[in-house]
């Protein structure tokens, strides 16, 4: 019945500290070619530590066994479809890993002379240009480390522009379907947040927005397509309303995988946006990072971008620190360069036509999955889907089974679950984003799994409620973990 998986043995493995034994080591340093200096003398006895208590003492073989065994306890894109909505879990091309390790790039020090960093600067310039073309914006900064960091940068830019016009204003508007980072970011940027209620089609209605906009509003944060996977068709009207009151339109680019090559935010009224290079541009998520959150702006926001900025001087690149209106740095150095290399490699491999095709395939896959599942799950909003589709657990909840339970049961079928219970405006959401890198066979299997689970909900809900049954780790007691937090190992 379950086509994708059958169980196999996994190795048990203790924590490194439990594997340790005194005196074991897994390293060999070269002989010191200068006289050994006494730490007590050089640093002072008070400043010199005793041994690091309980730090690991293991051999090289211990290390490889340890981490290899742990790795087998993880699900990953390399094992199969990972349809987490809003996360764009697409295949991570391995050539990107290779080129990011190119000697002269991986070992470039951020303070080495510009004359000896031209290759790295050229990579950044090429990526800035490609992202500006893709978004239809005028300038790009690659400094932010992740999407939320990009949002933060974008709102500081907004604040700086409005300040330069005399009033930074007080509020950010965000639809009730927004990512949690949006309101959290607004607060960090010194703004209050006001929610805009989505209409019955799941999108912002220009009338509701117009009623909420006034001279206190700095910007609207909008995700497009929104977190329901629905394109904000009135985006132009929305942008006009905002602009007419002197407000900015900030676009959360988390869902840019639905638009690349098809539509450009710069062409539909967006003033500032971020891109998640670890989503749309395939850089690996690595269990939660590193990401990169490039920010693209229209020309009126360009003077405020964080510095330094790349500047062409004659035949060479140079860093320009003379930016009197800049918001200042949002991080040290120039950005997550290693991630930028991977993103540029992805763009080069696809090229303009390939990027567009990838978008179309992502939207095709989402619509295909939607079609297969619609008879079994309640689609949250009837509007056409872009790169992801969102169902509610209404039918299953009637049997006492919730989205979180269905997700756990998917694991038994060999899939990583979809995004659970988000967006918040859908009661019991199942948010599915297959991405373009899944083929029909994998999508069919995933849909079959979800259909089989819908059937189980009818006939044997306990099977679903107690899932997963086949994993080496069963449901984890999260309540116990939160009530009595144990956040580090200690010798017992």
């Amino acid at each position: 019945m379950v086509k994708k998986v059958r169980s196999h043995i996994t190795q048990n493995e203790p924590l490194l500290f439990e594997r340790s034994s005194p005196g074991k080591k897994g390293y060999q340093l070269p002989d010191l070619d200068v006289p050994t200096v006494s730490a007590e003398e050089a640093l002072g006895a008070d400043n010199t530590r005793a041994e690091i208590e309980d730090f690991p003492e293991v051999s090289e073989v211990d290390v490889i066994r340890h981490f290899t065994r742990l790795s087998t306890w993880n699900y990953a894109i390399d094992l199969g479809c990972y349809p987490l909505g809003s996360c764009t879990m697409k295949y991570n091309p391995r050539v990107n890993e290779l080129v990011a390790r190119t000697e002269g790039l991986a070992w470039a020090h951020p303070y080495q002379p510009e004359s000896l960093a031209q290759g790295a600067m050229e990579v950044m310039a090429a990526l800035e240009a490609a992202l500006a073309e893709i978004t239809g914006m005028d300038a790009v900064t690659l400094q932010p480390a992740a999407g939320a960091h990009g949002e933060y940068t974008g709102l500081l830019l907004t604040r700086a522009l409005l300040e330069s016009r005399g009033n930074p204003r007080k509020k950010i508007l965000a639809p009730d379907s927004a990512h949690g980072t949006n309101p959290a970011t607004a607060t960090m940027a010194g703004y209050a947040v006001e929610n805009i209620k989505s209409n019955d089609r799941g999108v912002i209605s220009p009338e509701t927005l117009a009623a909420a906009v006034n001279e206190d509003v700095a910007a609207l944060m909008v995700t497009n397509p929104n977190t329901l996977g629905v394109f904000e068709e009135e985006i132009r009207k929305i942008a006009d309303i905002m602009h007419s009151k002197g407000c900015m339109v900030y676009m959360d680019g988390a869902n840019m995988n639905a638009l690349v090559g098809i539509a450009r935010p710069g062409d539909f009224g967006v003033d500032v946006m971020h891109l998640n290079l670890h989503k749309t541009f395939s850089t690996p998520h690595g269990g939660g990072g590193p990401g990169a959150g490039a920010v693209a702006v229209r020309s009126h926001l360009e003077p405020f971008l964080p510095g330094p900025r790349l500047k062409r001087v004659g035949e060479a690149w140079s860093w320009n620190y003379d930016l009197p209106q800049s918001i200042g740095r949002v991080r040290a150095f120039y950005g997550n360069f290693g991630v930028l290399v991977r993103a540029l490699a992805y763009i080069m491999a696809h090229g303009g036509p390939g990027l567009r095709l990838a978008t179309m395939d992502a939207v095709l896959n989402a619509n295909y999955v939607r079609k297969l599942l619609e008879p079994y799950y309640e689609i949250a909003y009837k509007a056409p889907s872009m790169h992801e589709c969102v169902f509610s657990d209404d039918r299953q909840a009637a049997k006492g089974v919730r989205t979180g339970d269905i997700a756990k049961r998917m694991i038994d079928y060999g899939f990583h679950p979809y995004t659970v219970s988000f967006p918040l405006i859908v009661h019991g959401a199942l948010m599915i984003e297959p991405t373009e890198t899944e083929g029909k066979a994998e999508l069919d299997q995933m849909a079959e799994a979800l259909i089989a689970i819908a059937d189980e909900v009818e006939k044997d809900p306990q099977m679903v409620l107690k899932a997963p049954h086949t994993t080496r780790t069963g449901r984890v007691d999260e309540v116990g973990a939160a009530r009595k937090p144990v956040l580090r190992w200690k010798r017992s």
């Binding site: 219970s421 999260e478 309540v479 939160a482 009530r483």
Partner: protein
């Protein structure tokens, strides 16, 4: 079926208050704890803090949700239920009794009149 004691007053934000002279004991209702699920953490003010009717003075957390607690009446915090710091699960077990949140000295006793009776509260939550 849960009983909502007749001698308590209730709010639409799901707090209760028991008045004894110039003092009052405040807690959250059984309905509130059951909506939140397993409670894992309770954040409360220090003794001496002043709380104001209708304003938040603490929060109650489950694994995946945080719920603010609003003051049903105004006053000065006299005592905080220390048990909840180490045993937040008590809030699931005995919300109207042992798992009270704070005891306060009332500064505006008349505010009580704006609160719901047990019968009205039960009607409000549809119990």
């Amino acid at each position: 079926m849960t009983t909502y004691p007749e001698d308590l007053y209730y709010t639409k934000e799901h707090e209760w208050v028991r008045v004894e002279g110039q003092s009052a004991t405040i807690g959250i209702t059984d309905h509130a704890q059951s909506e939140l699920g397993d409670i894992v953490y309770v954040d409360l003010p220090q003794p001496g803090a002043t709380i104001e009717q209708g304003k938040t003075f603490g929060s109650v957390e489950s694994v995946k949700a945080v719920s603010d607690v609003y003051a049903p009446v105004s006053g000065e915090v006299a005592e905080v239920n220390q048990t909840l710091a180490t045993n937040p699960e008590k809030l699931n077990e005995d919300p109207h009794g042992e798992a009270w949140l704070v005891k306060i000295k009332l500064t505006a006793p008349d505010e009580i009149k704006q609160l719901l009776s047990a019968a009205d509260y039960q009607k409000y939550i549809g119990a």
